[in-house]
Symmetry: C2
Subunit: 153 residues, 2 copies
DNA sequence: CTCTATGCAAAGCTTTTGCACGTTA
DNA sequence: TAACGTGCAAAAGCTTTGCATAGAG
């Protein structure tokens, strides 16, 4: 679990400590294998350590974010989602508006666009945190029968 | 001010009403000319009508969102931002991590990418709401002298 | 042993909701 | 004058913070 060692080392470098709670958060992120909300992480960590506090979860996620060990995703819902960056290549997140599913897509296809942006408006996109919303293939099928876009509250 | 007429008509179609408060919100969004948070909008509307309540702002923004008259942007900050869609072509928002500035970029350059996505993973991106974060040209210059990325809280 | 991290409790912020009153069409 | 919208107040979520204690190194 190289990710955990990376975390351990980052902590050591700053004189910080590897606690069971921090290990648990990391472990849950691994086990879940997808983006999860602080609340979901809290519930899952609670299953192992019933005494853990929500604030510890938030503090740990903040730490992991600082260390770039997690990616923060805005799914359009209230709570942001946290996903283990692990050693994976940064990728684009596609969030389905209907079912909430999140797909990871390779950034290669975006390269021409990114280059263009950098050349024209000199804007450098943060590759570690791109999220787009839309409708996944499955939900397109389901939705094809009705109007799909509802304008009423 | 065609936007206001559009709003007026949408309201009429549903038997809803054009109140001074709703006009004020629309007016502020016009005047600001960029994405603004509910709080900023509240403050600006308050300058005109001191009695207006925050809840009215939220309700109005929600209404404008339903009518697709505003675009919601996640800038990475706590509050989402609202920008008048007006009659503009949907565009991509580039949020600068450093100065918070938001640039609008034409979606044309993304087209090959979007087509590719649709063909490969069958995902249809919502064009009205794409936001990416990064560093704008100005801030790149400023940052070039230091390490830029700060890992401490 | 020292200094960090945790749990607890409380507060802070943003957003939502119920309700009586005011206003629009 | 019949709905609809607003202000007010309160509540509801999510997140942060202060502090005494527990625990890692």
């Amino acid at each position: 679990m190289s990710c955990e060692n990376l975390f351990r080392e980052q902590l050591r470098q700053r004189g910080l400590r590897l606690t069971p709670q921090r290990e648990a958060v990391l472990s849950v992120l691994h086990a879940v294998g997808r983006a999860a909300s602080p609340e979901e992480i809290f519930v899952r960590v609670s299953a192992v350590d019933a005494a853990v506090d929500r604030s510890t979860i938030y503090r740990t996620l903040d730490l992991l974010d600082n260390f770039k060990l997690v990616t923060v995703i805005d799914s359009g819902e209230k709570q942001r989602l946290y996903e283990l960056s692990d050693r994976e290549i940064p990728h684009l997140h596609l969030v389905c508006r209907v079912c909430g599913k999140i797909m990871g897509v390779d950034l290669d296809v975006l390269q021409p666009f990114l280059t263009h942006l950098d050349e024209t408006v000199k804007f450098q996109i943060d590759l570690t945190n791109i999220t787009m919303q839309g409708i996944c293939g499955d939900c397109q099928k389901v939705a094809s029968g009705n109007n799909f876009i509802s304008t009423q509250s």
